[in-house]
């Protein structure tokens, strides 16, 4: 008997419908105030951290590099978006997506500029050089006070990061990365993680794909940064320090390097902890650090490993079970 499979177009239709339903339902629920304001605010922060984690996962989990300057890209996006929005170049409806795009592109361009030299270096060197770039970006923001407001901060940024905008970006980010990974380009990125020399021997332009993954990752970090700016309405350079990069890395590692579902779940849990388990605050960083070490010692691929959730697969399984049960009943009847 041939295994039951949902056809490709059907999968796309089911998934699209579910995403639309999720966005509409989420929008209505958050607008209704049913959950209360704290949860609404938390949901928005969760969304921003999902984008940050999923995008970092591209360069850490999929590409197998360890950039430690993700907060730097976030900062570039945040400031680019904020400056764009404050300038009021475009009318408000067009301004939001345009600002997000500007933020993403600014971060991606810097990602390429940093990536080309940095990615020539391997492993630990890449980590340290991106860490250095992150610090340089922070120092520059501090010193360009006429543009960025310096340490005094950039204030009065329009606060339009609501559920709808943030989660549309979350979905775009997740889909774009998913589509990328399930293509020849994605396989090329994975092959670099698996074995760089073998990848090169298969004719893969490893430098190109490293820079591409890096730029992609920076692009979405930039968008997350702009959403962050639009959520708080105030930017200060101190918000984008090394610890922010480490926090994002922690989400990715705990969720599972190479697992998008893992990043989403870990980002949701870790970002919500201050609201739901304030009692843990004092021990939280200790627990995180211990978890990081324990995960590396006992399950280096992270809690979810490279497992990725697929709704269609789940549906297929359920339907297959149904068919199997039916055929059993038929056999029984016969």
């Amino acid at each position: 008997m041939k295994e039951f499979r949902i056809s490709m177009p059907m999968r796309y239709i089911i998934n699209s419908l579910l995403l639309v339903a999720f966005i509409v339902a989420g929008h209505l629920i958050t607008q209704s105030g049913l959950l209360g304001r704290a949860h609404n605010a938390n949901i928005v922060s969760v969304g921003i951290f999902i984008i940050l984690a999923v995008s970092l996962n591209l360069s850490t989990g999929y590409l197998g590099q360890l950039p430690l300057g993700h907060a730097g890209f976030m900062a570039i996006g945040a400031y680019a978006g904020a400056i764009f929005w404050r300038s009021g170049l475009l009318p408000s409806t067009a301004s939001v997506p345009a600002g997000l795009l500007v933020a993403g592109l600014a971060a991606a361009v810097v990602g390429v500029i940093i990536g080309i030299p940095a990615l020539r270096l391997k492993g630990d060197y890449l980590a340290i050089i991106t860490l250095g770039f992150g610090e340089i970006i922070r120092v520059i923001i501090n010193n360009l006070d006429s543009v960025t407001g310096g340490a005094g901060g950039l204030h009065g940024i329009p606060r339009h990061s609501n559920f709808l905008i943030v989660y549309l970006c979350v979905i775009i980010c997740c889909i774009a990365i998913h589509m990328l990974m399930k293509s020849r380009h994605g396989r090329a990125i994975l092959s670099i993680r698996e074995n760089e020399i073998a990848a090169e021997s298969c004719g893969i332009n490893t430098t190109y794909y490293k820079v591409m993954a890096f730029a992609f990752s920076a692009f979405f970090a930039g968008i997350a940064g702009a959403l962050f700016a639009g959520n708080i309405g105030l930017l200060v350079p101190g918000e984008f320090d090394f610890m922010t990069s480490i926090n994002i890395l922690m989400i990715v590692v705990l969720g599972g390097m190479g697992s998008m579902a893992g990043s989403v779940i870990a980002a949701s849990i870790l970002t919500s902890l201050p609201l739901f388990m304030a009692a843990l605050n004092e021990y939280r960083m200790i627990i995180y650090a211990l978890m990081l070490i324990i995960v590396m010692l006992f399950k280096p691929s992270g809690l979810l490993g490279t497992y990725d959730f697929s709704l269609s697969r789940l549906l297929e399984k359920l339907i297959r079970r149904r068919i199997a049960a039916k055929s059993k009943v038929k056999e029984g009847e016969a």
Partner: protein, 394 residues
């Protein structure tokens, strides 16, 4: 079947109506209100926890003392914002969900500035004990005053201006240098005001140097400054900077220059307990002194010590006053109106009552100016023999 449902339904309806009536009766007169919920936001973990804990101690001392008197009870809901703007916004919204009447917070400027625009829209009465950035109460671009937001601490420009005056008038200084951190908004605010005031006074700024927030080596900057041999060196940093800049200024040969600071210096001696000799003779401005002659201040100090085992610092004292200002305004509002304490109308009335504050706190007599900043005396502290001596008000 149908009849019974109807019966139950009407019974429930009657009950609900009766309860509603009772409730509205109870609220006719606000003298019956015996509990008010307020929110407190402070960083209790993370890098700013030191400030957060001081502020919490001061607030809780006043609230406990007030509740112990009987009558109106204040029910505080304390939330940790970890010094993080995102968490601060979430926690602010949490407090709004809890229907608090007013909020005390937050402690440092950045999280407070992240919350203020939201609170302004909500008409949420707020007071902070320690957020000194000018933008906390006034929108820096439009100049619009956040009418709901008050504070019991000095603002950055005020301190910079005052210290320039002090150097020129009281110390007779004619040349000055500044060593500030361009990574700390507080430090920048003080530096700008100091320089601005110095220009008008004719106090010559001979050199300006900068440092990173987490810098440890200042010898380079101090050596550059020493080459200009200024009369005074203004260091608008925090106590942990002072603890390093002090000894290094000796190494750099800055022996004839008087160091000046602002309220960030509070606690410097604690940070230099093993060798405070290098900042001997320095002056700094603060909002609170232990060397008060007033009995209520001395009482506060002894009560604080009895409760927490350590003397109160400036943040704790300003927090004590912040709680006092808010709760007094709540009492006045309750007396003057009959709005429900969690209603918008009550909050608006409370904001009005807060602007009308005129209170004798442990940090001095406090009234608010049109920008909701406190009008109160500044204390100058002189470091003599390794201890803080009250030099005078200024």
């Amino acid at each position: 079947m149908k009849k019974r449902t109807l019966k139950v339904f009407s019974l429930v309806l009657v009950l609900v109506m009766a309860l509603g009536l009772l409730a509205s009766c109870a609220n006719d007169d606000n003298s019956d209100v015996n509990e008010i919920t307020i929110g407190i936001l402070a960083p209790l973990t993370g890098g700013a926890a030191y400030f957060g804990e001081s502020v919490r101690n001061g607030l809780m001392l006043y609230i406990d003392e007030f509740n112990a008197r009987g009558g109106l009870q204040i029910n505080p809901i304390l939330r940790d914002e970890e010094g993080n703007m995102t968490i601060a916004v979430t926690m602010y919204n949490y407090l709004v969900d809890q229907n608090v009447t007013a909020i005390i917070g937050s402690v440092t400027s950045d999280p407070t500035r992240a919350i203020v625009p939201l609170a302004f829209e909500d008409n949420m009465p707020m007071i902070t004990a320690s957020a000194t950035h000018a933008g906390v109460t006034v929108h820096p671009d439009t100049g619009q005053v956040f009418t709901n937001m008050f504070r019991s601490c000095f603002i950055d420009p005020f301190q910079g201006t005052k210290m320039a005056d002090f150097a020129f008038e009281e110390l007779g200084a004619r040349t000055a240098a500044v060593l500030y951190s361009n990574e700390i908004a507080y430090s920048i605010g003080l530096m700008e005001a100091f320089i601005h005031r110095a220009e008008t006074l004719g106090l010559e700024i001979v050199h300006i140097e900068r440092h990173a927030d987490h810098a440890v080596d200042f010898v380079g900057q101090l050596t550059n400054i020493a080459a200009h041999n200024p009369d005074v060196l203004f260091v608008p940093g925090y106590n942990y900077h002072v603890a390093l800049i002090g000894p290094q200024s000796v190494t750099a040969g800055l022996t004839d220059t008087v160091l000046l600071g602002a309220d960030g210096w509070a606690g410097s001696l604690e940070r230099m307990e093993h060798d405070p000799s290098s900042i001997e003779g320095s002056f700094f401005m603060t909002g609170f002194t232990h060397e008060s002659t007033e009995q209520h201040v001395l009482d506060f100090i002894s009560r604080f010590e009895a409760e927490y085992g350590i003397p109160p610092n400036m943040f704790a004292a300003q927090a004590y006053d912040a709680a006092m200002i808010l709760i007094a305004a709540i009492e006045r509002t309750l007396a003057a109106t009959d709005y429900e304490p969690d209603s918008e109308a009550f909050r608006l009335a409370l904001i009005d009552q807060m602007s009308a504050t005129d209170i004798q706190g442990v940090t001095g007599r406090i009234t608010f100016d049109e920008f909701n900043n406190p009008q109160k005396t500044a204390f100058i502290i002189h470091i003599v023999d390794g201890v803080e001596r009250f030099w005078g008000t200024f």
